[in-house]
């Protein structure tokens, strides 16, 4: 198996200790950094799909993302500084009044592994924090908002409303979290909804490309 395929396989099964060395070997073999990155992105897509299908669980996803992150560290100096490998910046956060972040973190990892540069605001973020982040970061193509409580669904709506009213543009808004549904996402005028982290990465790519 070519080293680059091994990188993909080992990302999928979350071998955090093995992946960095393999990435180095792939580079030594002459593989291009961008292709190695793509192999890892492909690996994470497999991981996302398996998670969506209920074949793997949160820990497997976390170690796969960690393995990829370790691989990317090795790759970083070799990746051109230009934006050609990036799908743009994604601002992500959990809405005001809500402190849940496990789901948001997974979504962040998956969207990040799909090729976005992530700006993670953390939890309990008021609408103006999202707006400030959109203003203060370059090339924002996606805003992702998470809400885990029925009591914070109104805050999700408030956030989407405020972002729309700010007049800022050039990005899409994706929402999610356990009590969020496609119907609710439509009602509050979000561009997309996804039920889980694997699907979120796919949706993110699709709406930003559209």
């Amino acid at each position: 198996m070519a080293k680059i395929d091994e990188v993909k396989e080992q990302v999928i099964i979350g071998k955090t200790k093995i992946v960095p060395g393999l990435v180095q070997e792939a580079l030594d073999e002459g593989s291009v950094a961008k292709d190695i990155l793509q192999a890892m992105i492909d690996g994470m897509k497999v991981v996302g799909d398996r998670f969506s299908a209920g074949e793997i669980f949160v820990p497997e996803m976390l170690i796969a993302a960690k393995a990829m992150a370790k691989g990317v560290e090795v790759l970083k100096p070799h990746l051109a500084a230009d934006a050609s490998t990036s799908l743009g910046t994604c601002v992500i956060g959990t809405v005001e009044g809500d402190l849940h972040d496990i789901g948001k973190n997974l979504v962040s990892m998956m969207i990040g592994s799909a090729g976005f540069d992530m700006v993670d605001l953390g939890v309990d973020q008021a609408p103006d924090k999202f707006i400030a982040a959109i203003k203060n970061n370059q090339n924002v193509k996606l805003v992702a908002c998470s809400a885990l409580l029925t009591t914070t669904l109104p805050a999700l709506k408030k956030t989407v409303d405020a972002i729309r009213e700010s007049g800022l543009s050039g990005f899409k808004i994706i929402v999610g979290g356990a009590p969020v549904t496609q119907k609710f996402a439509d009602e509050i005028g979000a561009d997309a909804y996804a039920p889980d982290a694997g699907a979120a990465a796919e949706k993110a790519k699709a709406i930003v490309a559209a």
Binding site: G14, T16, F51, G54, I56, F57, V58, P59, E60, L62, I63, K66, E96, G97, D98, L99, I102, G103, N105, D124, L149, T150, T151, L153, P154, A178, P179, P195, D196
Partner: protein, 339 residues
């Protein structure tokens, strides 16, 4: 008419209940306690709880908990500075179990305040327990670190889990000596609404034996019913729940397909829930909405091995009126279905 107690036993034993068990009615033995169950004892009371809008506090395990004014509940703080376990291989150096050493007089006060006046004919002496073993682990280390450590440092995780379990066994002895509970209502959330946190294999590897020990001890001390709260998808964990000795899984959310589970496992375990907070406990709730969900749950699941109930882990709801609205609809369904 059967007493609340008899009716519950008939329901979970496949007998002849004369109505639906209405949510937490049979466990509601301690009116002044937060969830109507026995809640206060010297060990639990010694652990600080944050108040809404107040400053963060450290509980008796050293976990920092915050409750900002604008959020509906308290929350463990897990930034690098606050998490108790920063390196799981070093857990022994940082984890200190709370003392269990209190004078009997303090237990006696709690007994007097909570046991007297319970109508033991109608109600089970029910002791509330939280957190569970898994929760205690992720409170100490944060969820992400915790889930990763199951892979990266399994031995250290087993040691930590064992340490927590041994503490819980000693605490369980005090609870049994003093309250002689008939029902233990224990929390431990094991997943999101779509999947369990751990695969069934990993769950069994780390949690089955500790829980068997813990719940087995309660059983040995005369506890009649182990009710376990877990408001998540966990249909894949039901075989393990049965093996642990859980009699009632409270909190089974609708994504579990409860009616299927009843067909498959009814008689070995009962299911309490299927009325999701996420669906009915909303700002825009109405009696009609509640009625629709209660009807679906009762009709689909039937009269045995099922207790219609809000999925949250204690009586009440986030929005005023929702819990009582559910109770009203359950009574209506009883009139209709138990003629």
């Amino acid at each position: 008419m059967l007493t609340k107690k008899q009716n519950l036993l008939e329901t979970i034993r496949g007998g002849k209940p004369d109505r639906f068990v209405n949510q937490y009615e049979a466990f509601d033995c301690s009116p002044s306690a937060p969830f109507g169950m026995i809640f206060s004892d010297p060990v639990m009371d010694a652990s600080a709880r944050p108040v809404i809008g107040g400053p963060p506090v450290k509980d008796s395990w050293g976990v920092t908990k915050a409750w900002p004014a604008n959020v509906p509940g308290a929350f463990p703080v897990h930034d690098q500075e606050h998490k108790v376990i920063k390196d799981i291989t070093q857990w022994e150096k940082v984890v200190k179990a709370p003392t269990l050493d209190y004078p009997q007089s303090e237990w006696d006060k709690c007994k007097a305040a909570q046991l007297e006046g319970i109508d033991r004919n109608e109600l089970f002496v029910t002791v509330f327990g939280a957190p569970g073993i898994f929760e205690q682990v992720h409170y100490l280390m944060g969820m992400d670190d915790c889930l990763i450590a199951f892979y990266e440092e399994p031995e250290a995780m087993k040691e930590l889990i064992n340490f927590i379990t041994e503490w819980k066994l000693k605490y369980a002895k005090l609870v049994c000596d003093n309250f002689a509970p008939e029902v233990i209502f224990q929390h431990d959330d094991w997943g999101s609404h779509k999947s369990s946190f751990l695969s069934p294999d990993m769950f069994e590897e780390f949690l089955l034996e500790p829980y068997k020990k813990w719940y087995g001890y309660y059983r040995q001390r005369g506890v009649q019913i182990i009710a376990h709260h877990n408001d998540a998808y966990s249909a894949n964990l039901v075989p393990a729940m049965i093996e642990m000795g859980i009699d009632i899984w409270q909190g089974c959310v609708s994504t579990n397909n409860v009616s299927e589970l009843i067909k498959k496992y009814g008689g070995k375990i009962s299911f309490m829930g299927d009325i999701d907070n996420g669906l009915v406990d909303r700002e825009d709730w109405t009696q009609e909405l509640v009625a629709k969900h209660v009807r679906r749950a009762c009709e689909e699941n039937g009269k045995l091995y099922f207790i219609p109930c809000i999925t949250q882990g204690g009586k009440g709801a986030v929005y005023d009126g929702v819990y009582d609205a559910i109770s009203v609809e359950i009574d209506k369904m009883s009139k209709e279905m138990f003629k």
